[in-house]
């Protein structure tokens, strides 16, 4: 059995779903649990073809509740476990994710956003931002990476497994139907050959020795008897999450502190924004961009800095203000005026962004 799926660096041309399957292998994932839903299906298709060659496993479950909870079980057994879903599946996934959030279980969930609400389209959207960042009956103690390119899908899927096991919070890779289905080039590599250490997993249950004799039993719960007990648990979760936030938060920006207008976007839309901004900058416009890579936690300090220096921020997304809510909350009290460009469930092109920028700058 070959030890490593990828050796050396090589350029590939493939779909995003295929990229995720390879990246999970490269990250050392042991087992995937999944349930079919478009547009993430090919992650399972490629995983089920690749996995047995590397001694990895797969289970097709009866629904996304089960996919999420079996992933929880896999993690408890000490295996790097992941699942992938979209749309209504993500809705169901919020229940197991909230358990993982409560119990610090490092599950990895790949989301390929589709249209909403309801069944909507199987094609594309950025309408699962609210649900993915702060869904469930919890406080949003999750790490969410929003990718824009196939290279990032590869890089951040690997990073998601590492972050999950390092920080022990459920971790999402937030892609979308476009990224899932489109083909473009990327360079794949073995992370360790590139100096990216793989964070090891460890079992929560079933460790060596007889519980109660050689070691205390590993006993985990998410139900508490009194308010004070829960309050302490959530306070600890919040403290730990806030402590890692500056280390985890990632963003990208261009002249965000020196431009009149800063365009804010995330994920695949940031490609269009970058194109529009660079074109208009070449023409002399005072415009920059800010792109959060992590939607949870946000790079708040840098965002606030940009929002205090700019006259206005243009918030661009394929949703009716879901990213905007996160941005406005983080930038509360900053002086930039917030201007929307929302196209829920629709792609947005560089031409549309450029036209909007021109209309704002006059």
């Amino acid at each position: 059995m070959p030890e490593k799926p990828i050796k050396g660096e090589k350029r590939y041309f493939m779909t995003g779903n295929e990229v995720v399957a390879y990246a999970a292998l490269a990250a050392g994932a042991d087992i995937m649990y999944g349930y079919p839903i478009t547009p993430q299906n090919e992650i399972m298709h490629y995983w089920t073809r690749l996995a047995p060659r590397y001694g990895k496993d797969f289970l097709q479950t009866e629904d996304e509740l089960s996919a999420g909870f079996t992933t929880v079980g896999g993690v408890l057994a000490g295996k790097k476990s992941f699942t992938a879903t979209a749309g209504p599946g993500n809705t169901l996934m919020q229940e197991p994710v909230s358990m993982a959030e409560a119990m610090r279980l490092p599950i990895v969930v790949v989301i390929q956003q589709r249209g909403g609400p309801s069944t909507a389209t199987v094609i594309y959207s950025q309408q699962e931002v609210t649900m993915t960042t702060i869904g469930g009956n919890g406080e949003g103690f999750r790490i969410v990476y929003s990718t824009a390119t196939h290279q990032e899908l590869f890089d951040y899927t690997i990073k998601a497994f590492n972050a999950a096991w390092k920080y022990r919070f459920p971790t999402f890779v937030l892609g979308d139907g476009y990224q899932a289905k489109m083909r473009e080039s990327l360079t794949m590599y073995d992370p360790e050959e590139k100096g990216i250490p793989i964070v090891p997993s460890e079992p929560y249950v079933g460790k060596p020795g007889v519980p109660g004799v050689d070691r205390p039993p590993g006993q985990y719960r998410n139900t508490y008897n009194v308010e004070e007990e829960l309050y302490e648990v959530v306070e600890n979760l919040a403290r730990d999450f806030n402590a890692i936030a500056p280390e985890v938060a990632e963003y990208e920006s261009l002249e965000a502190g020196r431009s009149d207008l800063v365009v804010v976007s995330h994920g695949v839309i940031s490609r269009a924004v970058k194109e529009a901004v660079s074109e208009l900058r070449e023409a002399g416009a005072s415009v920059g961009y800010f792109r959060p890579v992590t939607l949870r936690p946000l790079a708040e300090k840098e965002l606030r800095d940009a929002a205090n220096k700019a006259k206005a921020m243009l918030l661009v997304e394929s949703a009716n203000g879901q990213m905007a809510r996160l941005i406005k909350d983080a930038a509360y009290g900053c002086k930039a005026e917030m201007i929307p460009l929302y196209k829920p469930g629709m792609g947005i092109t560089a031409e549309e962004v450029a036209a909007k920028i021109r209309s704002i700058l006059g």
């Binding site: 489109m182 080039s185 490609r271 970058k274």
Partner: protein
């Protein structure tokens, strides 16, 4: 640097527009260019028109889909209707000359409108099976996103295993590329 070339290929299921787009995209990638190809997919695709969005350039590609194409190739009457929205003043609109009853809807605002007899060439000169390869030849010549030779290499890569068993197939496919190219030579 020039902007990416934006291409729409649209046809009925089975006409092979997605394979054509994928092969061209892979050929461009092999040449070290930036390529992005995305099909329409999902509910609409079942029994609907198959649309391929293809962009090839020298810088990272922006959004995967686009509003106006540089070239639209429509291979059925439904595909003509479906792709009208991608036609702007800079667009070259190509459709198969065998499509009937669409003369009135063909966009007058396009930079150029070309009716090419690809289906006829496939049926009468070559083989109906290489219809989409003729289209590929036409796209490659019209856009110059990759060279004709590179397009042939890409076909070889994809279908080489079949050509090994039946070398005549190779000739047929290569001829289809050349004939497709001829159909648009000097017209775009």
């Amino acid at each position: 640097m020039a902007k990416a070339v934006k291409i729409i290929l649209a046809g009925e299921g089975g006409q092979g527009v997605q394979s054509v787009a994928e092969i061209i995209a892979e050929a461009a990638n092999e040449e070290g260019r930036e390529a992005l190809y995305i099909p329409n997919f999902g509910v609409e695709q079942r029994g609907g028109v198959s649309v391929a969005y293809l962009q090839i350039g020298d810088r990272p590609i922006g959004s995967p889909k686009f509003l106006k194409a540089d070239i639209v190739i429509a291979l059925s009457d439904r595909a003509v209707y479906r792709t009208l929205k991608y036609v702007g003043p800079e667009t070259v609109f190509v459709y198969d000359a065998g499509i009937k009853g669409v003369e009135d809807v063909i966009p007058k605002s396009a930079r150029k409108v070309l009716a090419i007899p690809a289906l006829q060439v496939a049926n009468e000169e070559l083989n109906p099976r290489v219809f989409n390869v003729i289209i590929m030849g036409a796209v490659v010549r019209a856009t110059e996103v990759v060279s004709q030779d590179r397009a042939k290499d890409a076909i070889e890569k994809k279908l080489g295993y079949k050509f090994e068993k039946n070398p005549e197939l190779r000739d047929l496919n290569f001829k289809a590329i050349d004939r497709g190219a001829e159909l648009v030579t000097g017209l775009v």
